[in-house]
């Protein structure tokens, strides 16, 4: 079995089950800390007063929306290249959470934009490419639902994910390449133009969102494994012994 042991759904299922609660607990703890910092401990901003506090959920959601897409595209690519079921299931598990993060990034951004720029929305490069990311996620989910054969759906969704991944660096570089309403990068290597406690709160929330995404994805992955591997011996054995959650 060696290093590909956990490529088998039957092997990864229990491991994912053990991992998920730890990520969930870590996410919850970090979220509490992050929210205390963001909503209470961090001082007001000179120009934006309290309205800047949306940064503590907007930036984590936006980073997750991009990061999850790349991870999903990676697993999709692996599934296409190696024809592995679990890689495809992994990509399938990520899509809904990625879509959620993208939607949250857009929503929280809109409610930050209104008091700051006077508008909920603008068709600038950053916001438009993030919206395109949402359409890509939804397209991948819709494509999955539209194709009856799961293995064909795996391939189709893998290709769409790969085609769409070009959007992620565009989102990232958009504020540098074009004149955008959206501000430039707050965190540059070596010099963050942001107060230390605000940066700390943001990083705590980034990890909270990250661990939450991992936990939810692992639980969804286990569910997808049960759905797609129904009828196999390991699922039958499991069904007898697994406790109701």
């Amino acid at each position: 079995m060696g290093r590909f042991k956990y490529a088998a759904p039957a092997q990864f299922y229990p491991l994912a089950g053990k991992m998920a609660p730890w990520f969930a607990a870590a996410a919850a703890i970090l979220a509490v800390i992050g929210l205390v910092i963001g909503l209470y401990l961090a001082p007001i901003d000179v120009t934006q007063k309290d309205s800047y506090r949306i940064i503590f959920i907007h930036v984590p959601a936006a980073w997750m929306s991009m990061f999850l897409y790349v991870v999903m595209a990676f697993w999709g690519a692996l599934a296409l290249a190696m024809n592995t079921r679990l890689s495809a299931m992994m990509a399938q598990s990520i899509a809904p959470t990625g879509a959620l993060m993208t939607a949250l990034a857009l929503w929280t951004g809109a409610f930050w934009g209104k008091p700051t720029w006077g508008t909920y929305w603008a068709w600038d490069a950053r916001m438009t490419t993030e919206l395109i990311l949402l359409f890509l996620y939804l397209g991948i989910i819709a494509l999955r639902n539209a194709i009856d054969d799961p293995r064909r759906a795996d391939k189709a969704c893998g290709v769409l994910a790969l085609v769409g991944v070009v959007n992620v660096p565009i989102i990232y570089m958009s504020v540098k390449w074009w004149n955008t309403l959206h501000q430039g990068a707050t965190i540059k290597a070596g010099n963050a133009s942001i107060a230390a406690i605000m940066l700390a709160g943001m990083l705590v929330m980034v990890f909270a969102f990250w661990f939450y995404s991992i936990a939810v994805t692992l639980v969804r992955l286990r569910t997808i494994m049960l759905e797609r591997e129904a009828g196999t011996a390991w699922v039958a054995r499991l069904a007898e012994t697994e406790k109701e959650r």
Binding site: I57, H58, T97, T108, F111, T223, L226, A230, A236, E242
Partner: protein, 63 residues
């Protein structure tokens, strides 16, 4: 306390943003748990298919 919720006059924007995050995350957790429960239930009663139809050859249950 009411000063906290007022958020310096930006209450609408901050709580609409934070509120939606809380709501959608709660909904996602509920949805994943429901799907997980359903999948486990179907795995236990393996004569049912995921889409509601029979998973395999449909034989009348001998009663």
């Amino acid at each position: 306390m009411s000063e906290f919720f007022a958020m310096g006059g930006y209450a609408l924007f901050i709580w609409m943003a934070y509120g939606m995050v809380a709501l959608l995350i709660a909904l996602e957790i509920i949805a994943v748990r429901a799907r997980s429960k359903r999948a486990l239930h179907l795995a236990r009663h393996s004569d049912a298919g995921v889409d509601g139809n029979g998973g395999g050859a449909q034989l009348k249950e001998a009663e």
